[in-house]
């Protein structure tokens, strides 16, 4: 954006000095090249708008994959004082607990390639993606309410997973304090038939080969072995989460108005208010629905693999949320403070020794997954304690868009992308041609650069590189 000063602090760190209504400065973590891309749309303005929200602490942050969103930028992180701060549904996004999970397997690439097509077709059939297609699971309203309360535990109780699966999720796959009664009937109506579905847009399921191990010790702890097959699942809380966000933006606007907001999508309520607490109870419920959705998808993936590879075992490495707000404790200017951290398109990055991560990963740091764009590599990283000092324990969530969907559809041929994928020996099972063009690799920033910058900054450490073999999307 023209007119807004951006100061270089050090390699990969930039600051937007406080001006206008900003309470804190903005901080961008990016290389020279990535900052250039971030400047092209309204990301900078959105970082400044967030910096003006009541109770924000230290900085309004943009991660290396940041791009323009609505209200908050995507790849945006902001922490608010628990007593004086606010909670903003737009700072979490419509897709509450959109996230990624990775399953590792004992299957080698060569074994998998023998039945690649059959497996991909079965997965696409069993786990609908796209729009207006109901999932395999038809549940009563009572069961949905149980899921909202119990998350992954509901799935495990009902035979759709192992006890270990819950241990390998962020927050055990169940946020405590969920209040299903704060989720509207309309939200339940929208989500009810969508469990076990991926959704559309940038959501996908990818079968990958572990191409390179970068950190042996961490990869071993995560159970990731070179040459073996992994499955990456990217999905969220579906219509239930979207409706919950929408419902509360309207409620907050009704209660507090919008004339004071730089962007109407930034509607908020004080964390310590009736409405703020109601939203938090509803948001946690939607997050649990998303954890359960990814678990049910994993169950169907395991079944599909069992059909073609009876001896296959798919273990959950970890499940991370990248659209969420959470209460966490940070040291700010020498004092420990309780903050509500909003991560919109950002992954939590807890390092070594943190008690919130599974014991078996505690010597390493939590697993983090940064999926590349369609047809490009994805990365496994490990959380670092330095992230606690500079980015409120946050790391990027993906490559980050660069071109608009309409530009991509107009200028990139889906047929050409299909040919490129074929050349790279990647199978694609997609519901729509336009969807392929929208998600073209050229529409995204370079995942290699996003990962390199994160590694250099010390907010996450590279562990392994995964190469796609089959992509299933809406």
């Amino acid at each position: 954006m023209a007119g807004i000063e951006i100061k270089k602090i050090s390699k990969n760190i930039w600051e937007i000095p406080q001006h206008g209504k900003m309470i804190v400065p903005g901080r961008i973590f990016a290389s020279e090249n990535l900052v250039g891309k971030i400047k092209k749309d309204e990301t900078i303005k959105q970082i400044c708008n967030v910096a003006s929200l009541p109770g924000i602490v230290k900085y309004s942050i943009a991660l290396p994959d940041a791009h323009m969103g609505y209200g908050f930028s995507v790849g945006g992180v902001a922490a608010f004082d628990i007593d004086k701060g606010i909670i903003s549904p737009g700072g979490i996004g419509f897709d509450i607990n959109c996230g990624v999970r990775l399953l590792s397997s004992n299957l080698s690439k060569n074994e998998f390639l023998k039945k690649r097509k059959e497996t991909a077709i079965k997965i696409r059939k069993d786990i609908p993606s796209g729009v207006g297609r109901a999932g395999y699971f038809r549940l009563s309203e009572k069961e949905i309410k149980e899921i909202l309360k119990d998350g992954v535990n509901w799935a495990i109780r009902n035979g759709y997973g192992e006890k270990e699966d819950a241990e390998n999720c962020e927050d055990g796959g169940c946020l405590l304090g969920a209040e299903p009664d704060k989720v509207s009937a309309r939200a339940v109506g929208r989500g009810r038939n969508q469990l076990g579905t991926i959704g559309a847009g940038n959501h996908f399921l990818e079968i990958q080969e572990v191409e390179e191990i970068i950190d042996e010790k961490a990869a071993e702890a995560f159970g990731i072995k070179k040459g073996k097959i992994c499955v990456l699942i990217h999905s969220g809380s579906r219509g239930l989460g979207h409706q919950t966000c929408s419902d509360y933006i309207v409620k907050m606007e009704e209660k507090y108005g919008h004339s004071h907001l730089a962007d109407r999508q930034l509607a908020y309520a004080p964390i310590k208010s009736r409405l703020g607490e109601d939203y938090i109870g509803a948001m946690k419920s939607a997050a649990n629905f998303a954890f359960c959705n990814r678990q049910l998808i994993s169950h169907l993936v395991r079944e599909a693999f069992k059909k073609y590879f009876p001896a296959s075992e798919l273990k959950l490495v970890y499940d991370v949320a990248h659209n969420i707000a959470k209460q966490e404790e940070f040291e700010i200017d020498g004092k420990k403070r309780k903050l509500y951290v909003h991560r919109k398109g950002a992954t939590r990055s807890f390092g070594k020794g943190n008690k919130a991560i599974p014991k078996k990963y505690r010597n390493i740091g939590q697993p983090i997954f940064i999926p590349g764009s369609m047809g490009t590599a994805s990365y496994v990283l490990a959380g670092q304690n330095k992230a606690g000092k500079i980015s409120f324990s946050s790391a990027p969530h993906g490559a980050g868009r660069e071109l608009s969907r309409s530009y991509a559809v107009k200028n990139i041929s889906a047929q050409k992308i299909k040919e490129q994928l074929k050349k790279k020996d990647i199978l694609i099972e997609a519901g729509s041609v336009k969807g392929i063009a929208e998600e073209a690799p050229e529409a995204y920033k370079d995942v290699e650069e996003v990962v390199r910058v994160s590694h250099e900054l010390g907010i996450a450490k590279k562990v392994a590189k995964l190469k796609p073999l089959a992509v299933i999307k809406g």
Partner: protein
């Protein structure tokens, strides 16, 4: 008055979809917003007018009303598998309510549809433009 009014157009947005809808009357700008919704979700597919839904939508002013209308269409697609093709709409003078006849079809008959998560309030407006036409702008999260 223009005879061949442009119903709507898309505006660049990095991650989501932004559209502007036009109308010679308030009713028409709302109707053309339904066309925009249909185009976003159906792409090049022609949605048949096989079903009709009668809706009454309330709002607190112009922007809230259009936000609620789009979200109602999103709800119908997610919860009732109904995809809209077009609509006849009557907006009340105080912009606090509209009555709509929404035409469309069962979404299960179509493959490769696009999803809208929700309308957003980001950059939303509904106003008269310099050509004396009604102009609505909405960003939808996709």
């Amino acid at each position: 008055m223009e005879k061949n009014l442009k119903k709507f157009e898309f505006v660049e947005h990095t991650a989501d979809v932004k559209f502007k809808a036009y109308g010679r009357s308030l009713d028409e700008v709302f109707e053309n917003s339904v066309f925009a919704f249909s185009k976003i979700t159906a792409g090049k597919k022609k949605i048949k007018r096989a079903k009709k839904k009668n809706l009454k939508i309330k709002g607190k002013g112009a922007e809230n009303l259009i936000y609620n209308l789009i979200n109602e269409l999103v709800y119908l697609l997610d919860a009732e598998n109904f995809i809209a093709s077009d609509a006849r709409i009557k907006v009340s003078d105080d912009l606090k309510q509209l009555e709509a006849e929404i035409y469309g079809d069962s979404s299960e008959k179509y493959r490769g549809l696009f999803h809208i998560k929700s309308a957003t309030y980001h950059d939303i407006f509904l106003k008269r433009n310099k050509n004396n036409l009604w102009e609505a702008q909405v960003v939808v999260d996709v």
